[in-house]
Symmetry: C2
Subunit: 158 residues, 2 copies
Amino acid sequence: MIATELHPAVKPVAFLLGTWRGEGQGQYPTIEPFRYREEIRFSHNGKPFLIYTQRTEAIDTGQPMHGEAGYLRLVGEGRVEFVIAQPIGFAEISLGRVDGQRVDVECASVGRTPTAKRVSSISRSLWLDGDTLRYELKMGMEGVPLARHLVANLQRAD
Amino acid sequence: MIATELHPAVKPVAFLLGTWRGEGQGQYPTIEPFRYREEIRFSHNGKPFLIYTQRTEAIDTGQPMHGEAGYLRLVGEGRVEFVIAQPIGFAEISLGRVDGQRVDVECASVGRTPTAKRVSSISRSLWLDGDTLRYELKMGMEGVPLARHLVANLQRAD
């Protein structure tokens, strides 16, 4: 990889760039609450999007839990498009806005493989609170309206 | 990351594991042919899927071209589900089979952001030919039926 200048379109979300580590909490009407350790990375290659990867692991054993990967596209006038693949069989297209040091998106479509759980909607907010990157993810499934699922607090690791 | 044993479900596609580098050629009815340098990585974390990342760059300048990321899920009896996010605004759900040292998938759905090109279908084949990983990708767009778009030959780099 060659060192590359940040694309001007990406400047509104430059606050996300880097590797972030911390802990999060999960809950959902159908499951027991749980905690996890997390790493999120936003990088760039000079094009008008950020490259996003995320993974979580069990706090006690370090066993991998979730992971996802995708791209946060900046498409003008503060609008963002978040394309995310999830190993549980989802391909998510989410649309929203960046406003100051906060990004809010809601899914416009969720592609699902035949064996995936019946997730029907996802909303995501990420925001910088001082030096802490916080996010909240809400999820709706068939039979369960949009409900809080994940919240986490992460610190910049590089 | 802790060292992790391969999930038994993943054994049929273990031949893909590793980092692969090589060159490819692109063509399409609407564009001039082009060549590119490529790196593909398949890794695992002990769960029944492979983690997939890919990136290409210009052969002469090293400038980043395409990239994509996703997960190849093994769901039993040789069936695979390939979930891929693309920074050009696609979220792809492709379904198919592994047969020997060959994987063939066709997209079941393509989620698109409002600003994405009007890709309507993608088919992918990856196969091991001696020590060479080869793939072919066909793509259909609105107004263009499924046509050969990319072919590449890659060697294992680690």
